[in-house]
């Protein structure tokens, strides 16, 4: 068991590393109102966070991350461009694995505003430099690629929206893709008007969806070629420059997809300018698709070769969708990353 003071020392070192890059220190309460977090993440967060109850304030949560309170504070202060760092405990419920910690220190670095590719590269490089000397592999991706591939499908908007919504849930995403590639069945009729109706969802709500289902039944299924293209995009995994080439071949003359790939390439250039060797990075389209629902573009992670022995050391990405949800529509570009100082410490010592 590593003494907590050692982990705190490592955390302080990491935070100072980000402060030296001009980041302001952010502090927030450990007990956070649960409402905002539940509204954002949905029921899944309840399985991952400790929810407690205050007789006056209602449901409270032991902070599962710093990002949400940070974005709230940044937006309510009406600020534009800024960068922050923080260090402190976060709490995660573990229902399935006793070996994973329920409490650990997290150090983060978050950049609001700025040019997208430069800000992405700045965060990645700052995190990478904080971890220099450790035997880690970096994996990157960009949700924009899959989003663009979906946007180019020859199918109605509602189907694209449904696919986009489920990008983060591979099981459902695949199920939807399968469903859209077959003819949809005719929907049932309206419910018997004499049947007692209960609940808040009205007969009008039901009628509206039945109408939508009728439209679905009249919609042509996705072609095999289109489905294959999405699947090929998802399967790309190689060193970053090669991945860009593979994606280009899949995109062929598709402008939307090529634009998304341009962004990946521009980011790689920005990274190279900051001294990162693009060939040392793995690009994996599906990377990070099962984690945070609000990542919208660039995502990255740093992991030791032996992932059974060491959990992911650092991860992050662009979360414009989260700032949009918290800012109630006002768009505010933001990118950030978090580091686990306990894992850094363990790796430094080469300890088991």
């Amino acid at each position: 068991m590593t003494p907590k003071s050692d982990i705190r020392t490592e955390a302080n070192r990491l935070r100072a590393h980000f402060e030296a890059r001009g980041a302001e220190v952010f502090e927030t309460d450990i007990l956070q109102p649960a409402g905002a977090l539940l509204g954002l993440y949905g029921e899944d967060i309840r399985a991952r966070a400790f929810v407690t109850h205050d007789p006056l304030r209602g449901e409270m949560m032991l902070r599962p991350d710093f990002t949400v309170p940070l974005v709230q504070s940044h937006i309510s202060a009406g600020r534009g461009t800024a960068s922050y760092t923080y260090s402190g405990e976060v709490f995660r419920r573990q229902e399935d694995d006793e070996d994973r910690p329920t409490e650990f220190i997290q150090v983060g670095y978050e950049v609001f505003g700025g040019k997208e590719a430069e800000a992405d590269a700045t965060v990645f490089t700052a995190v990478s430099e904080a971890l220099s000397g450790l035997p880690l592999n970096a994996t990157i991706s960009d949700f924009g690629v899959l989003r663009a591939a979906i946007a180019s499908l020859n199918t109605p908007e509602r189907r694209k929206t449904a696919l986009l919504r489920h990008i983060w849930r591979p099981v459902r995403f695949k199920a939807l893709l399968d469903r859209f590639s077959r003819p949809a069945p005719q929907p049932a009729g309206m419910p018997d008007p004499n049947m007692p109706h209960v609940g808040l969802r009205s007969r009008e709500d039901i009628a509206a969806r039945l109408e939508l289902l009728a439209e679905e039944a009249a919609t042509d299924p996705l072609s095999d070629t289109e489905v294959e293209r999405i699947k090929s995009c998802l399967a790309v995994k190689s060193n970053a420059p090669d991945a860009v080439q593979s994606l280009r071949r899949i995109a062929a003359s598709d402008d939307a997809l090529n634009n998304a790939i341009d962004k990946v390439a521009t980011r790689l250039e920005a990274l190279e300018k900051l001294g990162i060797n693009a060939n040392s990075l793995t690009f994996q389209t599906s990377y990070g698709l099962t984690s945070l629902e609000y990542y919208s573009g660039f995502v990255f992670g740093f992991a030791a070769a032996d992932t059974t022995k060491y959990p992911v050391v650092a991860s992050g990405g662009r979360y414009d969708l989260l700032t949009k949800a918290i800012g109630q529509g006002a768009s505010l570009p933001a990118v950030g990353g978090v580091i686990r100082p306990d894992v850094v410490h363990k790796l430094r010592k080469g300890a088991v």
Partner: protein, 232 residues
């Protein structure tokens, strides 16, 4: 400690349990008055009886405070995280059967599957400004089931009883509860959608964590042999 057998302290579940043991040559007798929670086990040596609320038996088994216990498989899976590593099912007792299901108003003619449910959850959130509510007391089982199916846009509302009434009372849009005949669902204008989430029945469990000395091990073995549940 001695071998402790935990059985439900009340009602039909208790009576069916006593009958099941009696049919296999283990007689369990209540002692004292009807209201006293005490009893003994006749027909096997060194087994102590503990009468408990059915809902507390999983926790006692997981902690190793009782060696054997009878309760519903639903409550074990709901209340004990990673139950497989702590509690071992020895026998399904053939009574107390019930299915954990998801139900919505019968008038939702557009909803038959979890796919439909997921789509409705998303549009409900857009129309009503909050996530569609499922009333239940089986939080872990429901969450795990819906997560595996990739359903996300809902919230769970705790309901410890009269769950089928929550939809008409406008405190939930759907319910997840156990049902055996479906009559209560029907009376509350609800219908089942999707697959059964868990098929529950009264089950005899063994705690993996109970510490036993040599005579206890022998007594436990003898008891299981009497019940026809020889262990390897």
């Amino acid at each position: 400690m001695s071998v402790k057998l935990g059985i439900p302290s009340k009602g039909r579940l208790m009576q069916d349990t006593l009958d099941w043991f009696a049919e296999r040559g283990v007689k369990i007798e209540r002692t004292g008055t009807d209201r006293e929670y005490a009893g003994r086990v006749i027909g096997v040596e060194g087994v102590e009886l503990v009468l408990l609320a059915a809902g507390e038996i999983p926790r006692e088994l997981a902690a190793g405070r009782i060696t054997l216990g009878v309760t519903g498989s639903d409550v074990v899976q709901e209340k004990v995280a990673r139950w497989e590593s702590k509690i071992k099912p020895l026998a399904s007792l053939g009574f107390g059967k019930a299915d954990l299901i998801l139900a919505v108003p019968k008038t939702w003619s557009d909803v038959e599957t979890l796919d439909d449910f997921d789509a409705v959850a998303e549009s409900f959130r857009q129309t009503h400004g909050f996530r569609l509510r499922i009333a239940t007391k089986y939080h872990r089982l429901v969450r795990a089931h819906l997560k595996a199916a990739g359903v996300a846009g809902y919230q769970l509302i705790d309901s410890q009883g009269a769950t089928e009434g929550t939809v008409a009372n406008l405190t939930a849009e759907a319910i997840a509860d156990i049902t055996s005949t479906g009559a209560t669902l029907d009376a509350n204008h609800l219908k089942i959608i999707g697959d059964v989430m868990h098929q529950s029945q009264a089950t005899l469990f063994r705690s993996m964590g109970a510490s036993l000395n040599d005579p206890d091990v022998a007594n436990l073995k003898a008891m299981l042999e009497t019940l026809g549940l020889a262990q390897d």
